[in-house]
């Protein structure tokens, strides 16, 4: 059985999921299967969007890849190593409320660097660099409660970038923002992504957001979450959201999702009856 020890894929792959499944509270009355049989490979520097109806387990997959939760079945690999616990190589950005309110912006960005035990000078340098990259150097001494929602998420991005991660995991990071801010944040994120050379896994239920950002869009089914289909996005960057090609893609994704939303609704109705 020697062959099993060698991963059946390239160790260059940023993320490899093999038959990944997750069941919450197994063996209890509240048990529910969130994910089943997920197979997904993410290349270095690739931007992958996980798209699906609410509660389809796409965020769960992100937590599994981050190493914050254990898989129930299947295997997770990142750059040739088994994912068993969190690693600074894989930074996660949450929907909201993830800045430490008692630290300044600079303190927040430097948090992971301090954990890693970096010398003060190196910490300052990398903090400054990360803040510069998200355009918030002047806000370095402010506290999170003094910032707008969009600025706060930029700080969260800077905090992740300061760790120089190879994979950025983003769990609906712009969901709490208004439409205009969200559009700005998307183009900002694309700039950051290109400069950082990290792979991005981005969870959203917004079709527009997926079309604006993704190299590939992974469409999820409703519970248990499975991969319904993977849609490659061939649109040239920078993207025109109003181009006919983008419109066609949006229609296609809408149709794919509608089935799932219908199914989820039917399921809820059945539960209520």
């Amino acid at each position: 059985m020697v062959s099993e020890r060698i991963p059946p894929f390239s160790s260059r792959d940023a993320v490899v999921c093999r038959k990944v499944g997750k069941t919450w509270s197994p063996g209890t009355p509240r048990t529910h299967e969130a994910l089943r049989g997920i197979d997904l490979d993410v290349a270095p520097e690739e931007f992958v969007v996980l798209l699906g109806p609410s509660g389809c387990g796409k965020s769960t997959l992100l937590y599994l890849i981050a190493g914050l939760e254990d898989t129930t079945s299947g295997e997770l690999w990142s750059f040739g190593e088994r994912v068993e616990q969190p690693s600074p190589q894989r930074s996660m950005i949450f929907q909201e409320a993830s800045l430490f309110p008692w630290l300044t912006v600079a303190g927040n960005v430097a948090f992971g660097l301090a954990i890693a035990g970096l010398a003060t000078e190196e910490r300052m340098r990398r903090t400054r660099q990360a803040l510069q990259r998200v355009g918030l150097l002047e806000a370095a001494d402010k506290r999170p409660h003094e910032l707008s929602g969009g600025m706060r998420q930029r700080v969260a991005v800077a905090r992740a970038l300061a760790m120089q991660p190879k994979v950025l995991l983003m769990d609906e990071p712009f969901a709490a923002l208004d439409v205009q801010t969200r559009a700005r944040m998307q183009s900002f994120l694309l700039d950051v992504w290109r400069a950082s050379k990290a792979s991005v896994l981005f969870v959203t239920h917004h079709i527009d957001e997926a079309v604006a950002l993704a190299d590939r869009i992974v469409v999820f089914t409703a519970r248990p979450g499975r991969i319904k289909t993977i849609v490659p996005v061939e649109l040239p960057r920078p993207r025109d959201p109003f181009s006919p090609a983008a419109e066609t893609l949006r229609r296609h994704l809408t149709a794919l999702l509608e089935d799932e939303v219908d199914r989820a609704f039917a399921e809820q109705e059945a539960l209520r009856a």
């Binding site: 600074p88 409320a97 430490f100 303190g107 301090a114 370095a140």
Partner: protein
């Protein structure tokens, strides 16, 4: 780490003035509130509904301060260090000494209880075995009235400062432990997950995330428990644990002196009020990131 220049601060005297101007409305409302309360009492006395012998109005029990002060001069006064060699402190000095004795017990009890409670609360969640072994017992002891501990206090410490401080500690400890555990359980999971993805160890997560995150609510718990501490210390002092404001209330009861009762109540109220005020100031300074005030209620 500092990146931008500090904003220019106003000269100290201007800042004091500005702070005073900002605090003025609060102060005036405080005066108005107490004024209303005292006014109603005085009116009830004037129309003859409140018997001055049983419910002496403020001008009576405050007017006889000099008279009342001598009752603070109980036999054991010099035991706390005033007037060595048999000479007795003046009545005013006796009031101050009594207040200091009681305040000291409250502070000591509060300090010991907070340090113990927070350490035990964190220990319960940090060391799982310790938590499993101790949490049920603490939950069992939490609802016991501090009065029930009074005999234990006297068995263990006799009379003096010991039993009074023990009473304050025992009255606060279990509640504060449970509050600490509850706060730890309610820390925003995202904050903990951020620390974990950054590679923080358990110790680092507790030191850098969980403890700062629970501080604001713990401070509120401490403020509420301050009042509880004042109540318990009086019970402890009244029930034969040496001297202090509680002893004076007991003396007033035994000698049927309502003026002395109300004068002592007045002293305790003022002390409690200033303690709470001081704690709020500390809270503001220490927990600068917590927004304060009930602004949102104004819209209702």
């Amino acid at each position: 780490m500092r990146f931008a220049a500090e904003p220019k601060a106003a000269p100290p005297r201007m800042r004091w003035l500005a702070a005073f101007a900002r605090g003025l409305p609060t102060l005036l409302w405080g005066v108005a509130s107490i004024g209303c309360f005292a006014g109603v009492w005085e009116i009830l006395w004037a129309v003859g509904w409140a018997d001055a012998k049983l419910l002496p109005p403020p001008h009576v029990f405050l007017g006889s301060i000099a008279d009342q002060a001598k009752f603070f001069n109980t036999v054991s006064r010099w035991q706390i260090g005033a007037g060595q060699g048999g000479d007795v402190p003046t009545p005013a000095m006796a009031v101050v000494l009594t207040i200091l004795a009681t305040t000291g017990r409250v502070l000591a009890g509060l300090l010991i209880a907070s340090v113990l409670a927070v350490s035990i609360g964190i220990g319960i969640r940090y060391f799982r075995l310790f938590g499993k072994l101790s949490l049920p017992t603490i939950t069992l002891l939490a609802p016991v009235s501090p009065i029930a501990w009074l005999p234990v206090a006297i068995f263990l410490f006799g009379i003096g400062n010991g039993p009074a401080i023990f009473m304050v500690v025992i009255a606060l400890l279990f509640h504060m432990v449970l509050a600490t555990v509850n706060q730890i359980d309610n820390v925003n999971r995202n904050l903990i997950n951020v620390a974990r993805t950054m590679g923080a160890s358990k110790r680092q997560t507790y030191a850098r995330v969980i403890i700062p995150a629970i501080l604001p609510q713990l401070f509120v718990v401490l403020r509420f428990n301050l009042f509880a501490a004042w109540m318990v210390v009086l019970v402890a002092e009244a029930t034969g644990v040496g001297y202090g404001l509680g002893q004076v209330v007991m003396l007033a009861r035994n000698t049927f002196n309502p003026s002395l009762v109300f004068f002592t109540i007045f002293l305790i109220g003022v002390l409690g009020f200033f303690f709470d005020f001081a704690m709020r100031q500390v809270q503001r300074k220490l927990l600068y990131w917590v927004p304060h005030g009930a602004e949102v209620l104004r819209g209702l």
